[in-house]
């Protein structure tokens, strides 16, 4: 029994209690609902009349319970009747499709074109007020809801293998429906049921309130509220009791529906929010300028670690990552998915999801003004002034990364406006020249296009235009070519190369899983595996003589020439929750020895500008 199931208990128990109460009304020791006592009109609560007496001196508690009986009888009765009819229609429609579908499901959906209460009024106008007309009206009203739910569930079930198999074996369709489809659609039916009961209660009480529903002297909550309305000034309690009973019951059924839904579809429970948007967010660390004299590197990342979970039991996703980027240099970070390469890139722009945080290391970045800031210690506001202007990012899937409802021009323009005061004409000019720079054809027209009007390659170009709009010092590109087809990929790579050639001093971090891309574009490469850097060095050297078995295996798996056969590395990347002891690559490594599983290998330097995290690098490469 998980949390979602436990949460069902409360509304379940209350519904049971209410149902039991109204069901047992005839045998409970209640006062007679019709017994009047004019002298004690509007009497308050007393020992013999717990909730007081109404405008005719009748016992309010008894009327409340009997009223609930009438209301629930109508609501549940019509919900059940509608369920039976709707289910039948939905099953037939979903199973036979074609004409049957039109006659059943589609025909009943016509009712949904009309406002519910109006339809109920129409039926009451024809049949007159009373309990049974109400049940008929509500049944008609709710049938299409069930028909819809059952119809779509049936469609899903019917394509399942075993149902097809039964049909093929010549089972009678009705048998199949009864045996396989019905049990499968029970859960959504239950949700629908609690929803319909709540809604039917609203309409029933509304009609009774208008005097068009339950006919006096039968007590009903709607009628009680109607009566109390006239006597509000003498005895407001008379209004409060039935109101509470009615709202409480509806609330309970709604709650039951919500909770049933979250049992059936646990995805809905996931939290969310946005810490970065909250106003007075706690500043985790002081913003500080790092004063120490340092390298001429544009970016120096040291021992960067990223954990899942804010406090307490964290899972380390990225551990001890170090690398640097020199001005004008292209650094590739390569690895399989799950290696932590994308997270490292996001962390450098302060864009980690809320559930992740940096818990160690630093990332020294030298700004345009020559100051050095530690990117791991900035808060949202401090980062904001750097983003786009100093550090910029190109994302993997441009279709998702561009806002679908804003024009390309606006999306590029707001990036510029974020950091620069600029008048409209100059802005337009700048946008168009940017779009031209990234090779978007017909930029004057394209500024007015929406993302969905561009091709995949054009969208990525627009994305790049956004990223370079303020001539950043550091560009982080996260798999910018992965979503594109090969010819476009090559064009985009060329664009990156041109940009690097044209912009002096801009550093590029190119995150990818594709070694071919690495050899094409990068000066230096960092290879990541399971959250750690396993090897790093100049691209040519690493390719020529990998110093880590993982890199070697990756290089071997790159298709050479026309051969499109990949020599895949056996096994998968371990998840951060169950990392192997010792070397994280050991379970997949062809060279593993016992020592590999006892100690985590430290980074070693085979030569001045190379690093590897393998105890056997001397033997294996």
């Amino acid at each position: 029994m998980n949390k979602a199931h436990r949460k069902l208990i409360l509304p379940g128990v209350i519904v049971f209690f209410i149902t039991a109460l109204v069901f047992l009304a005839p045998i409970l020791p209640l006062a007679d609902v019709r017994e009047m006592s004019i002298p004690s009109r509007f009497a308050g609560p007393s020992a013999s009349h717990w909730l007081g007496q109404d405008e005719f001196g009748r016992d309010v508690l008894a009327r409340l319970i009997w009223g609930g009986r009438a209301s629930l009888f109508i609501a549940v009765g019509s919900a059940l009747a509608a369920a039976v009819i709707g289910t039948a229609l939905g099953l037939l429609g979903g199973f036979f499709r074609g004409v049957v579908e039109v006659l059943t499901v589609r025909a009943s959906e016509v009712i949904l074109c009309l406002p519910l209460l109006l339809l109920a009024l129409l039926v009451v106008a024809i049949l007159g007020a009373g309990t049974w007309p109400l049940i008929i009206a509500l049944t008609i009203l709710y049938t299409p809801n069930y028909a819809r739910v059952v119809y779509s569930a049936t469609l899903q079930v019917r394509s399942l293998d075993y149902v097809t198999a039964q049909t093929a074996m010549g089972a009678h369709p009705m048998q199949i429906l009864a045996r396989t489809v019905l049990p499968n659609i029970m859960p959504p039916l239950l949700v629908q049921m609690s929803l319909v009961i709540a809604s039917a209660l609203v309409i029933e009480s509304g009609l009774s309130f208008l005097g068009l529903g339950v006919v006096p002297p039968t007590p009903s909550w709607g009628l009680m509220i109607r009566a109390a309305r006239g006597a509000m000034e003498q005895q407001p309690l008379l209004l409060i009791w039935p109101s509470l009973a009615l709202a409480g019951t509806i609330f309970t059924f709604n709650l039951l529906c919500d909770r049933l839904q979250s049992v059936l579809d646990p995805r809905g429970i996931t939290g969310g929010g946005a810490f970065w948007l909250r106003k007075n967010q706690r500043k985790t660390v002081e913003n500080e300028r790092v004063a120490e004299p340092s390298t001429d590197a544009l970016l120096l990342v040291e021992d960067l670690s990223i954990v899942l979970g804010r406090e307490g039991r964290d899972t380390e996703l990225v551990r001890g990552v170090s690398f640097k980027v020199m001005p004008g240099e292209t650094r590739a970070i390569v690895g399989e998915s799950g290696s932590g390469k994308t997270l490292s890139g996001l962390a450098l722009n302060g864009l980690l999801p809320d559930v992740l945080s940096i818990n160690g290391g630093r990332a020294l970045f030298s700004t345009r003004e020559g100051a050095q800031v530690d990117l791991t210690r900035l808060d949202e506001d401090a980062f904001r002034s750097l983003r786009g202007r100093e550090v910029s990012m190109v994302f993997q899937d441009a279709a998702a990364a561009l806002n679908p409802v804003l024009r390309i021009g606006e999306q590029v323009g707001e990036a510029i406006r974020a950091h620069k005061e600029i008048d409209d004409a100059a802005l337009d000019e700048r946008i168009i020249s940017l779009l031209r720079q990234v090779g978007l054809p017909d930029p004057e027209r394209r500024v007015r296009s929406y993302p969905h009007e561009l091709s995949g390659g054009q969208r990525q170009r627009a994305m790049i235009a956004v990223a370079v709009a303020n001539e950043p010092r550091l560009l982080i590109a996260d798999e910018p070519t992965t979503a594109l087809d090969p010819t476009i990929q090559a064009q985009i790579l060329d664009l990156f190369k041109t940009l690097m050639a044209d912009t002096s001093g801009m550093g590029l971090i190119f995150v990818t899983h594709d070694l071919a891309v690495v050899s094409e574009i990068a000066d230096r490469v960092t290879v990541m595996y399971a959250g750690e850097v396993v090897e790093e060095g100049p691209v040519a050297d690493v390719f020529e003589r990998p110093r880590h078995p993982y890199t070697a295996a990756l290089i071997a798996s790159v298709p050479e020439g026309d051969a499109d056969r990949l020599i895949a590395i056996p096994g998968t990347v371990p998840t951060p929750k169950d990392l192997p002891p010792g070397c994280r690559f050991a379970p997949r490594c062809a060279h593993a020895i016992d020592a590999c599983t006892t100690h985590s290998p430290e980074a070693e330097h085979p030569s001045l500008d190379r690093r590897t995290r393998c105890i056997r690098w001397k033997d294996v490469t």
């Binding site: 074109c113 406002p115 109006l118 106008a125 909250r278 002034s385 561009l402 974020a418």
Partner: protein
């Protein structure tokens, strides 16, 4: 865009036809003779002569297809028949009362959206915090309280206990603008409450979803100030499903006006409907139900068009 609007208009016209036809069918599909049903009071059988006269008046003696054509023609020419009660053309009453109902609906929708969207957005940003839980609780409570209960309690509080607003009634805007607005406040607020709950919930869910989208991350990566990210990227996109829900809720909203007009003595179309149903004045009921249903279709059309303006992708989708 224009083509899309034209397309939606055609769909709306089709829906109007469906409504008009189904109202006609409903009358003839209900078992028994409508004239007899209308004249019977409980168990007392109706006078056969009176039934025959009513059948004649309602055109029930004509062949079915003739009745259907008359019905359609009546709707097209605005001739919805004459009231049983006073013999006046139904369309006249509708014409005076419809604007008043529309006024309540529009005011309620405005109140609900202008409060609900910011509230839901706030709850989403602070998801699972204390404030979020409080908002969620009140939204559920508001959703579970029928509109006539809210209305009655509101009268109890504002008109009888605090005595700051009138309990109900109506003055034309042209006679007393301030009084008119004062009188409008409670009914519109009452209708708005449950809609407010729906919109708050929907905005919360919608904003939560948009916050996970890549383009919000892109917006952050640009270094734009929070306020602009929120306005241009988050809320702007989150509004689209919220508006769709608003369209779906129109039915509840119109239903709400029926009760609210009754509670506050607001002389709109919906309250008139209650009186007509009570008197079982058949032409009036059919006329009003059809008018309101057409209004319902029309309001949905308006929302579709606003939505298309907000989301350029919509006008491409044609189902």
């Amino acid at each position: 865009m224009l083509r899309y609007i034209a397309y939606r208009c055609v769909v709306a016209l089709f829906l109007v036809w469906v409504v008009v036809t189904s109202v006609f069918l409903l009358l003839h599909l209900i078992p028994g003779d409508p004239a007899e049903l209308l004249l019977s009071q409980g168990s007392i059988a109706a006078d056969p002569a009176a039934v025959e006269a009513l059948r004649e008046r309602m055109g029930l003696n004509e062949p079915l297809w003739q009745q259907y054509l008359d019905h359609l023609g009546g709707v097209l020419t605005g001739d919805l028949g004459a009231s049983f009660r006073d013999g006046a053309p139904v369309i006249e009453q509708i014409a005076t009362r419809l604007p008043r109902t529309l006024e309540v609906i529009v005011a309620a929708a405005l109140i609900a959206t202008s409060i609900g969207v910011p509230l839901g957005t706030y709850a989403a940003i602070h998801a699972n915090s204390f404030a979020d839980n409080v908002i969620s609780f009140f939204a559920s409570a508001a959703l579970s309280t029928p509109v006539f209960v809210v209305g009655t309690v509101v009268i109890l509080i504002f008109a009888q206990q605090l005595r700051i607003l009138p309990a109900g009634g109506f003055v034309p805007f042209s006679e007393d603008p301030l009084g008119h607005i004062q009188l409008l406040l409670l009914p519109a607020g009452t209708v708005a409450l449950s809609l407010l709950a729906v919109i708050t919930r929907m905005s919360r869910a919608s904003v939560l979803e948009v916050l996970q989208r890549d383009y919000v991350r892109t917006a952050r990566a640009k270094g734009i100030v929070r306020k602009r990210i929120l306005r241009r990227h988050v809320v702007r996109n989150a509004l689209i499903p919220v508006l769709t829900i608003l369209g779906l809720e129109m039915g509840t909203l119109i239903g709400g006006t029926v009760l609210v007009e009754f509670v506050f003595n607001w002389p709109g179309l919906s309250g008139y409907l209650v009186a007509a149903v009570d008197a079982r004045d058949y032409p009036e009921v059919v006329g009003i139900v059809m008018t309101i249903s057409i209004l319902f279709v029309f309001l949905n059309l308006v929302i579709d068009v606003i939505n298309a303006a907000l989301d350029p992708r919509i006008s491409l989708v044609r189902r």
